[in-house]
C-alpha cells in the first residue's frame, strides 16, 4: 500500500513537471476577476498553458514581480518611483501594458438620499473634515467611512486623485477588497465606500463632478471610456522585460477583440481599438 502511494506521488510529480508552460499572475484585487476569466478562456483554447491567478492588492503583485515570484503583475496603479528604483537594483525591467480601463465609483447605500458629490465634498468626507451627511445634503447622521487597506492600488489612486495626497481619516474602516467594501456599504445606511465599478451589487453609485460647475456624471462604460467620468484609470499588467512565447501570446490575446470582449462582459471598460493595438507586443 505504501509503495503504491509513493509510486503514485512520483507519477504525479512527473506529470506536473512535464506539463506545459506555467504562468503565474498576481496582484490587484480590482483586476483579479478579469485575470481569472481571461486565464480560463485562454486555457480553453490553449490547453498547454497552466495559468494561476491570485489577488492580494496591487502592492502585493508589484512586490512579487520585484522578488521574481510572479510572471505577470496585475496592478490598478502605476509603480511608484521607489518601486522602479528597487526594480533597477534587483535587475528587473518592468514593462507596463494597459489592459483595460476602470472607473472608481463612490458607493452609497441604496437608502441614502444623497445622489451626487463633488471632488471637494469627497475629499472633505474622506479626510474627516466633513463628518455628517447633512453637510452634503443628506440625513442628520454620522458618515461612516469604508475604504481599502493601504497596499491597495485603489486606495493609492483615490488618495492621489481625489484627496490630493492627503491622508485618509483614521476613522476609515479598512476592508480587504472592493467586494467587502460593497458588502459593508450595502449593510450600513450611513456608509460610503469606493472601488472599481465592476463589483457593485446592492449599492448605488454617486454621480461625481470634479468642480462645482461640471455636471455630475454616473460611472458607466460610456462615461468612463469616453472620459467624462472624472475618476477613471488604466489597469495594467506588468512584465519583467518584453514577454515572449506563451506570455506574449497571452497578452496579445487579452488585448485582441476577443479578450476585450471578455473584459466588457465582466463589466470592465474595454480599451478601445486604438489603445489596444498600440499596447500589443509586436
Amino acid at each position: 500500500m505504501k509503495k503504491l502511494l509513493i509510486a503514485g506521488m512520483m507519477v504525479g510529480l512527473a506529470a506536473l513537471l512535464l506539463a506545459g508552460t506555467n504562468i503565474t499572475i498576481k496582484g490587484s484585487d480590482t483586476l483579479v476577476r478579469l485575470g481569472q476569466r481571461w486565464a480560463e478562456e485562454y486555457m480553453k483554447h490553449n490547453p498547454n498553458a497552466v495559468i494561476q491567478v491570485s489577488g492580494g492588492g496591487s502592492g502585493t503583485g508589484i512586490a512579487a514581480l520585484l522578488n521574481g515570484a510572479t510572471d505577470i503583475c496585475e496592478a490598478s496603479r502605476d509603480m511608484k518611483e521607489k518601486e522602479y528604483k528597487l526594480a533597477a537594483e534587483k535587475g528587473i525591467k518592468p514593462l507596463r501594458i494597459s489592459v483595460a480601463l476602470d472607473g472608481i465609483a463612490v458607493f452609497l447605500n441604496e437608502g441614502n438620499p444623497v445622489k451626487e458629490l463633488s471632488f471637494a465634498q469627497l475629499k472633505g468626507i474622506y479626510t474627516g473634515a466633513i463628518t455628517n451627511w447633512k453637510e452634503v445634503g443628506g440625513n442628520d447622521s454620522r458618515i461612516i467611512l469604508y475604504g481599502r487597506e493601504n497596499n491597495s492600488g485603489t486606495y493609492a489612486f483615490f488618495k492621489e486623485h481625489v484627496l490630493d495626497g492627503e491622508d485618509y481619516s483614521e476613522y476609515t474602516q479598512t476592508l480587504p477588497g472592493t467586494a467587502a467594501v460593497v458588502n459593508a456599504v450595502s449593510k450600513d445606511k450611513n456608509g460610503v465606500g469606493y472601488g472599481g465599478i465592476a463589483w457593485a451589487t446592492g449599492v448605488k453609485f454617486a454621480a461625481v463632478r470634479k468642480t462645482d460647475s461640471d455636471t455630475a456624471v454616473l460611472p458607466t462604460t460610456e462615461t468612463v471610456s469616453g472620459g467624462s467620468y472624472p475618476i477613471s484609470r488604466e489597469l495594467y499588467w506588468f512584465f519583467n522585460g518584453t514577454p515572449e512565447g506563451e506570455l506574449k501570446k497571452l497578452i496579445n490575446w487579452a488585448l485582441s477583440e476577443k479578450g476585450q470582449k471578455v473584459a466588457e462582459e465582466m463589466d470592465y471598460i474595454p480599451l478601445g481599438k486604438e489603445l489596444a493595438e498600440k499596447n500589443m507586443i509586436k
Partner: protein, 319 residues
C-alpha cells in the same frame, strides 16, 4: 530463572533509536528558536539603523507626533503616505480592547460552564458537554470572523443602535467564542482535580451542594481557573482572522468599546504581503511581530507556570 543475554546487535539499535528520537525533539526546539531569531533579526534596525529611526524610532512609535509642522500632535498609523506615520499606540490599544472584551464575554460563560459541568451535571451530561464545547475550539477562526462580519454585526447594530457596524464589541464577542473552550477546558480540569476529600469534608461540616461548590471547590481551583483565563487572554491577543474581518481595522485611539479598532495581528496580516523587503515599513511590521511574540510568550509562560504550581500543590509537593 534463565538469564537473558543482552546481545550487542540490539544495543546498537537501541542507541540509534534513542538518538533519532532526541534529534526530533531538538529539531522542534531549533525551529522555534530560529523563527524567534529571524523575527528579532528583522526588527533590529529599529534600534540600530539611523534611516529607520528617522521615521520609526521607539519614541516616534510611542508618543504623539506632530507629523506636519503646525498641525496638532497626534497618534496615527499611515505607513503608505508621503509622510509615513508609525504610531503603535492605537494598535496596542486596539489589541488590548478586543482582548479584554473577549475575556469579559468568555469568562462568565466558560467558568460558569465549567462549574456546572464539574459540580452539578450528572456524568452522562458532562461527557456530552465537554466534547461539544471543545468543538467550538475546532471552528476555524475565519468562519467565526465571517459569522461576526455578516450576522453578528448586523444584529448588534439593530439591537444597540450603533454608529459603527464593525467595532471592538463585534470582534470581541467573536474572539470570546474562540476563547471560551480554552477557559472552559482548563477551569473544568482544575475543578475536577480538586480532591474528593475536600468536598467530603465540606459536606460533613453541613454544607449543601451549592455551598460545597462555591465556597470550597471554586476557591481551591482558583489557580487553575486563573491559568485558563491567562491562556485564553494569550489566545485573544494573538488571534488574527477574526479581528481582521470583524473589527473595522481603523487605527483609532478612544476608550469606547463601540468604535472600530485595529490590532497588531490584523495589521501584520493585512500589510506584510505587500511591503517592500527591507523598507522601514517592513522593519516596523517585524517589530510588531516581535512585540506580539514576546507578549504572548510571557502570557503563556505565566499560565503554564500557574498550572504547574497547581499540579504540584495538589500532589502535595509544595505548600
Amino acid at each position: 530463572m534463565q538469564e537473558l543475554k543482552f546481545k550487542p546487535k540490539s544495543r546498537l539499535r537501541e542507541f540509534l533509536g534513542e538518538k533519532l528520537i532526541s534529534v526530533n525533539a531538538y529539531i522542534a526546539l531549533l525551529a522555534i528558536f530560529l523563527i524567534f531569531a529571524f523575527v528579532f533579526k528583522e526588527a533590529i534596525p529599529i534600534f540600530t539603523d539611523g534611516a529607520v529611526q528617522q521615521e520609526a524610532s521607539l519614541e516616534k512609535m510611542t508618543f504623539k507626533q506632530e507629523f506636519r509642522a503646525g498641525r496638532e500632535a497626534r497618534w496615527s498609523w499611515q505607513p503608505n503616505s508621503d509622510i509615513p506615520k508609525f504610531s503603535l499606540w492605537p494598535l496596542f490599544l486596539g489589541t488590548i480592547k478586543a482582548a479584554i472584551i473577549a475575556m469579559l464575554f468568555a469568562m462568565p460563560l466558560g467558568i460558569g460552564a465549567a462549574v456546572y459541568s464539574s459540580e452539578f451535571a450528572d456524568r452522562r451530561l458532562r461527557e456530552f458537554i465537554k466534547p461539544v464545547i471543545e468543538i467550538l475550539a475546532a471552528i476555524p477562526s475565519v468562519v467565526l470572523g465571517f459569522f461576526a462580519l455578516m450576522v453578528l454585526a448586523t444584529f448588534l447594530q439593530n439591537v444597540l443602535g450603533l454608529t459603527f457596524r464593525l467595532n471592538a464589541l463585534n470582534a470581541g464577542i467573536a474572539l470570546g467564542l474562540a476563547v471560551i473552550p480554552i477557559v472552559f477546558t482548563v477551569a473544568e480540569d482544575a475543578m475536577t482535580s480538586v480532591p474528593g476529600s475536600l468536598r467530603d469534608a465540606a459536606t460533613a461540616l453541613g454544607a449543601n451542594p451549592w455551598q460545597v461548590s462555591l465556597t470550597t471547590v471554586l476557591p481551591a481551583a482558583t489557580p487553575g481557573i486563573a491559568a485558563g483565563v491567562v491562556l485564553g487572554f494569550g489566545r485573544a491577543v494573538g488571534e488574527t482572522m477574526i479581528v481582521l474581518m470583524a473589527s473595522g481595522n481603523a487605527a483609532i485611539v478612544s476608550a469606547s468599546m463601540l468604535d472600530s479598532v485595529r490590532t497588531f495581528s490584523a495589521t501584520i496580516a493585512a500589510e506584510l504581503a505587500e511591503v517592500v523587503f527591507g523598507s522601514t515599513h517592513y522593519t516596523v511590521l517585524f517589530f510588531i511581530g516581535a512585540l506580539l511574540f514576546v507578549f504572548t510568550f510571557l502570557i503563556n509562560l505565566g499560565g503554564d507556570m500557574i498550572l504547574a504550581r497547581l499540579k504540584q500543590r495538589l500532589q502535595g509537593k509544595t505548600s
